[in-house]
């Protein structure tokens, strides 16, 4: 199992997407996941813009499965301020259903909110929070 989580800075303030936090196990061959997540942004943007036209406000944050590749499934989540979360899991992992992924995202979102509440955190900087790291590690252990 491999959860691979990434957080993007909000589109609203920083038009250039760049990762705030990346974590993967196993850590080898990480570049491949960089590519996977990077290309998944295309789909995220497409989904967000498609929804944005009809229901600007009442948007479901969870985007669901972005696209399946041969070995992995890529899930996406976008907050109202356009911060993007992406989770990549091994497609052979059947224990993870939509609901589990959804709750993982919710947890991440909560934790991310805590990070943003930290007065010493400068929005746009890479996330170095230990608490946040702990949450992510916890999820990775739990799902593996």
């Amino acid at each position: 199992m491999l959860p691979f989580t990434v957080y993007f800075s909000p589109d609203v303030f920083f038009p250039q997407n760049y990762p705030l936090y990346i974590r993967s196990v196993p850590s080898q061959n990480e570049l491949k996941f960089h590519y996977t997540v990077h290309t998944s942004l295309d789909v995220v943007e497409e989904k967000v813009s498609a929804v944005g036209k009809s229901l600007a406000d009442q948007r479901e944050l969870y985007l669901g499965l972005l696209y399946p590749t041969e070995d992995y499934k890529v899930y996406g989540y976008v907050t109202n301020s356009k911060v993007k979360f992406v989770i990549v899991v091994d497609s052979s992992n059947t224990s993870l259903r939509d609901n589990e992924i959804r709750s993982m995202f919710r947890k991440l979102h909560n934790s991310f909110t805590d990070v943003m509440c930290n007065p010493f955190y400068n929005p746009g900087d890479p996330i170095l929070s230990k608490a946040f790291n702990g949450i992510v590690s916890g999820m990775m252990v739990q799902t593996s």
Binding site: N17, D42, V43, K47
Partner: protein, 989 residues
Amino acid sequence: MSVPDYMQCAEDHQTVLVVVQPVGIVPEDQFFKIYKRIASVSQVSIRDSQRLLYIRYRHHYLPENNEWGDFQTHRKVVGLVCITTCGAAKDWPQTAERFHGQKEVYSSTLYDSRLLVFGLQGEIAEQQRTDVAFYPSFEECADVERRVEDFVESIFIVLESKRLDRATDKSGDKIQLLCVPFEKKDFVGLDTDSRHYKKRCQGRMRKHVGDLCLQAGMLQDALVHYHMAVELLRAVNDFLWLGAALEGLCSASVIFHYPGGTAGKTAARKPSISQPADASKRHRPGALTANGISADTSTEIGRAKNCLSPEDIIDKYKEAISYYGKYKNAGVIELEACVKAVRVLAIQKRAREASEFLQNAVYINLGQLSEEEKIQRYSILSELYELIGFHRKSAFFKRVAAMQCVAPTIPEPGWRACYKLLLETLPGYSLSLDPKDFSKGSHRGWAAVQMRLLHELVYASRRMGNPGLSVRHLSFLLQTMLDFLSDQEKKEVTQSLENYTSKCPGGMEVITLSDGLKLPPVPFTKLPIVRSVKLLNLPASLRPHKVKCLLEQNVSTASPFIYSPIIMHNRGEERCKKIDFQWVQGDVCEVQLMVYNPMPYELRVENMGLLTSGVEFESLPAALSLPAESGLYPVTLVGVPRTAGNITVNGYHTSVFGVSSDCLLEGLPSVKTSGCLVEVIPSLPRLQLSTSLPRSAHTPQPMSKEQLSSSVSVQLFNGEEQQLTITLENIGSEDIESLELTSKTVNTKDKVFGRFLSWDLEEALRHLPLKPGQTVTLSISIKVKLDFSGQENLLPDLNDDGISVTGLPISSPLRQLLKPRAENKAVSSESGKAEYSHIKTLEAVLNFKYTGGAGKVEGYYRELSLGVHVDVEPSVFFTRVSTLPATSTRQCHLLLDIFNPTEHELTVSAKNSKDLVLHPSECQRLAIQVDKFDFESLPQLYQEPASFSSPKQLEEERQHAQGCQINSKLDICWSIISLQSDYRDCMVA
């Protein structure tokens, strides 16, 4: 059929395929010139009907693809145009033979053919043939287009006849079974009489007729036929052909819905949009109906029913593709269908669904592909992703294509192509090759992926044999990705950079690639990082001063007001630029940078210098070595302005790892600067002084150390006089034309009697102008006369003897001693701490103002100051004064009780008296016979009443004069033998 045509789009289904080929020897450029002219005839309006025939031209077409012509008629080569050259009539038969040979290749499908012969001079014996046209040269062929139109019309006639033939064929009992190449062997020995077989034949034929109708410009009929074909084929589970029928249906609907075409880029189709025929097609679709019969409403209703809605098109495409997917041999068809569907979706702006089609296309296995085909496939995927706005995905595939160009299996890797493709991926990864885009704000894009790409660019450019490019890319990598590189990576990158630069040093020039792309220079503003830039003033002794009156003039011209908010505002703007001191032409000027090294190892910066504009400036480069992860580190860059004017410090240049870079301050918002513009005034001379006395560390209190170029110190007994010899040397390059000397006594609480410092400048001034290298000496006498009278507590208690020089105010300690004690107390408490140390200090500053050269003309001068520090020790004290009448009435004896506070033996001598030797701390009486005189009779020698404003001053001056008078009468001197000093006593003065 193995080679997919990735450029295909849905509307290609309505075109007829014409192959244009050279026969024999035809120059390539001439061929393509003619080909282009032929290809310009892409649609022909058929006479007597309002139909349009679309033609697709190919100059290369595989015969095996032609075999799929029955399956989809637009794959069928129906026309052949051959281009050839024929110099002489005798060559004609041979040329004609070749043409016929070429026709053979496509003979099974060909409707008609033409041969264009160029270069033939003279006549051909043979009779005129309709399928051959002769042109004298490639230039003189004005009617090529018209001939092609004729040719197309003849194709149309055949097409139309075939269509009518097939369409009415259904009454016949036996329908030929159409099949694709790989099916042929499957039908061997099949029962041809079964209902199933018949239905299959019917269905396939319907589909074929639909294709023909579509090509013949009868959209409505085509739709009807396709619908029927779908029904028939669905019933017999003939999936491949069902797919084809569905795709045909989709194509026809797409053509109806999107008359502008879906290919988007194809230039040849573009003009058709503006053509009236097309416009009529859109607005009055009925005009195009079958057989040129004008439309009625019923057909219009029928069309709307038969035509698929945009959503249905996609569903049907999906279905068709899924049917194609069942056949391994139909991979190319499936792939092309996917591409066509994507183009349609791109028009509909349904990117996500399009990406699903593309995702599917990626997985279609076409068997063994050559490397070139793989590259083509990845490139086209990338293009399609770009089309639907998936820039990242597009970049990803482009990069894969680039990597494919240099795959290890390829014997001759195409590094050039790889590099070109990699460059095209840059925007997808939000990378640009201009470091300015990365200089401000947070980082853009995905660093990990960008780094990888840059590494690949570096490697590709190196393998291309262009080390200059590698250096540029590597510099860019180091400059923009520094924050993301690990320590190990930093080391590796810098090492390889040094390797490259040893062959090809990096510079600041713009590299222009062969395709016109410009690579802007990459200045290393982060190696080292500069935090602040500060221009330093010259040292105090070299600072130029403006002559006062000129300065005042300047102020008055600026504004008549002391304060004005408008001017303040203007100054505020100016302040950030202009600095309020001046540099001097020809003198070394300094700029201080605060730098630090972000690298985990020592950073060697070579050839670091200033970049300036405004005046000619000779920068003296410095080399520095910054320790690993150093903190802020001051670096002073120096230079010499060679001309006068305003100089602007624009930035600095460095050479790091063999890459020289010019870092401009305006591009570095993080650099703090207090201004970069400074005035350079014309050159001034420089003076150096040396003295006969030892230097001292003392500085007079109100002056800071910086202001004094040097200072001397000396210890003197009260009343002692010493000569100070000052040697002035002109060490500059200009003549010293004027010299002024002033002195200022500082820090005096005690009253100094007489002149403390005295000199004669006349002698020195005679040497002016002082040429460079010349010296002049000046002697200054230091004379200390201080009043130590406040220190009576050192002395034995004095009893007033009651006898005195009565009524005479004597300007001496004596006088004060004779006064009531109360007054003395006040004085002693005032003179404070100095009492206890016995030593008093005197300090003065000698100021040399000098100027010369061009700077003098501009009204500038320089100041050199010398601090003089004198420690004064008390010498002799007169503890008591009394008089005794002498033998003569005109004379009297003056009795002085003299005390020696020094630690040396002291001899006191006076006029008319023998020497008196005083041991340390001894007190003796000296008797001197003097003539009596009256103070009142003293001439008012050097008193100018006007110069003394107050009575007190007047009194002091009078006392001074009286003291002089006494002094001249008595002429008391003391000397310390052990020190061999012999000085006049000034105490009484």
